[in-house]
Symmetry: C2
Subunit: 353 residues, 2 copies
């Protein structure tokens, strides 16, 4: 506490990111990093960052990166906004767009940063419970007049809505903003981006952290109408003109352009995910059907907290939340084949029937 | 305009950064980049960033970088906050600390981002005119009860207050926050950081953009009491947990640790600055005494606007503001010896007596 803290600081409950321990030999399946190294094209771009590029200010508009994203999506550059991770992009969406109303609605079980941003910008966050199978309840969301924010696939469940369901939300009211957080894009879920050719009330956010194995690079983006993107750009230019450094711009551009890497590595993750899902079901686990690079599981005979501690003692880190109705669940990142095998072997020793 | 823009977006007047044109052969003296390439140790650190470092989330607390800064300043790690350029750091200071009051006071001629942040966070920015020689008027600032924000050296004048003058502001009222923006640290001005061992109401901000020739890396920091830094950390963790990517953390740490580079390259810049000052005075220019890596000049017989356009036609870019009382002035970045010579030669053709 300090007399110099503003009221917003006094009232904040900051987000707590997943642990990043530096333990030798740790199998780290707690923060949903991609299990493969990033594209070699991206690493080559890093090697080409010159001392002159670091001496000069970077392009404040990240033009090359926005062009690469626009090309990949069939959109114009004016429909692409980039930021320092999709967390920064979402924060600007809260301040610049969602704050056009006093409140918004989101599922109650979702990315735990949403209530933090709502508090930071003085917005009331209304929530709707998930259905019993952890699917987002579209009908209940539609009963609210407010803007809608959801993650698709949702975290930490991994369940995704179909494009038709997202379209229903978007089409229900052109005066209602719908924000679809696609942080887990690329692992099999439908993207809402195809709706952007018509919808003026839709913003889609993405991250390179998971889909492109670049969590260390901090690059995220938003896709939307030119008017919505201009609103975000105005916020950015009133906060920090240069959100992406020269390294991030170069590496991210190369990563986006390497579309072969994305399709090949996503195929491997989904293959590992589906095998891991089956292996854990064979051990009696209930596994949510996931379209992300993690799975959300519980075991009817073993408490989530016990399994979490057991795995931790075996040097395997997963994630859980002490919160109903998910307190018994573990969220497990899809690792490499070897990491998944080690996890399954460990759990077999504890849970085999 | 969009119906989805929040009121804050509708009312913003975003900051306009200096031009970054890509013109072959341009002598670019408009945005105060350092004239030398960054430390070779820093570039070596960039070469050592691994694909694994990019795959994983970066350290959300930038521990190694904060430790390096703390060591360099004789402070504890808890007294150091880092962010995505000092612009982001200052934005958090506005939201987290300066907003503990409704208003603040700053010189009227200073960094033009200050009024933008004040508007973004709903603060009233009161201003006090500079003295006739463009020195900051300490006596007038002290007549206000509000928090004080100033750049030292000031931009775009280059003039600096002494440590004793800063101390007078800080000591005048322990209940008043004083923010000293030392973006142009390292070129001869006193730093206020030595006051931090006693003062609880002082925040000092720095940037690696100028002093360390790393404008492309986007790294800035704040120094203050542990309580003030904790307030900033709470804002950061409610906005974006990972402001610095893996590249920025590694390169900045190496740059801070290369203290020899800082002293040698700063000596060269000050040498070039002092020679350029004398050369322009010889051509009849009035040159503000500068302790930054730029000079602020006017010529009694030539209009600033005309000289700006003349230089631009000769492929030399400097900066000016269409604003009283500085409309006749040019702000010129201290370039390499060759760049300064080319500038002087050009101006000699136009202004020689």
């Amino acid at each position: 506490m300090s007399k110099f803290w503003s009221s917003v600081v006094n009232n904040l409950k900051p987000y707590t990111p997943g642990e990043q321990p530096k333990v030798p030999g740790l199998i780290k399946l707690n923060t949903n990093e991609h299990c493969l190294p990033p594209s070699t094209e991206a690493m080559a771009a890093l090697g080409n960052v010159s001392s002159e590029a670091l001496r000069r200010y970077p392009d404040p508009e990240s033009t090359a990166l926005r062009r690469a994203i626009a090309n990949a999506e069939g959109l114009s550059e004016g429909q692409v906004f980039v930021g320092n991770g999709s967390d920064e992009v979402l924060a600007h969406i809260f301040q610049g767009l969602l704050s056009s109303n006093d409140s918004l609605v989101a599922p109650d079980i979702t990315y735990s940063f949403y209530p933090v941003w709502a508090a930071l910008y003085g917005l009331k966050l209304k929530t709707e419970a998930l259905l019993a199978d952890f699917t987002i309840d579209v009908n209940r969301l539609l009963q609210h007049p407010e803007s809608i924010l959801l993650a698709n696939p949702n975290a930490p469940t991994g369940r995704a809505l179909t494009l038709a369901e997202i379209k229903r939300l978007v089409d229900s009211n052109p005066d209602r903003l719908v924000v679809v957080d696609e942080a887990y894009y690329g692992f099999g879920a439908d993207s809402a981006s195809s709706l952007l050719t018509e919808a003026e009330n839709l913003i889609v956010t993405r991250s390179l952290s998971k889909s492109h194995a670049l969590a260390g690079l901090r690059v995220g983006y938003a896709l939307g109408s030119a008017e919505l993107i201009e609103g975000l750009t105005r916020v950015k230019d009133s906060f920090n003109s240069y959100p992406l450094d020269a390294c991030a711009q170069s590496v991210a551009t190369a990563a986006i352009e390497d579309t072969q890497w994305l399709s090949r590595s996503s195929a491997l993750v989904t293959e590992n995910r589906d095998r891991l899902t089956q292996d854990l079901r064979d051990l009696g686990f209930e596994v949510c059907p996931s379209l992300a690079n993690f799975i959300f599981v519980q075991h009817p005979q073993h408490e989530g907290r016990d399994l979490f501690e057991y795995l931790r003692a075996k040097n395997i880190l997963v994630r859980r939340w002490d919160k109903k109705p998910i307190a018994n669940f573990l969220r497990i990142t899809v690792g490499t084949h070897e990491e998944c095998s080690a996890l399954v072997q460990c759990l077999k020793e504890r849970c085999a029937p």
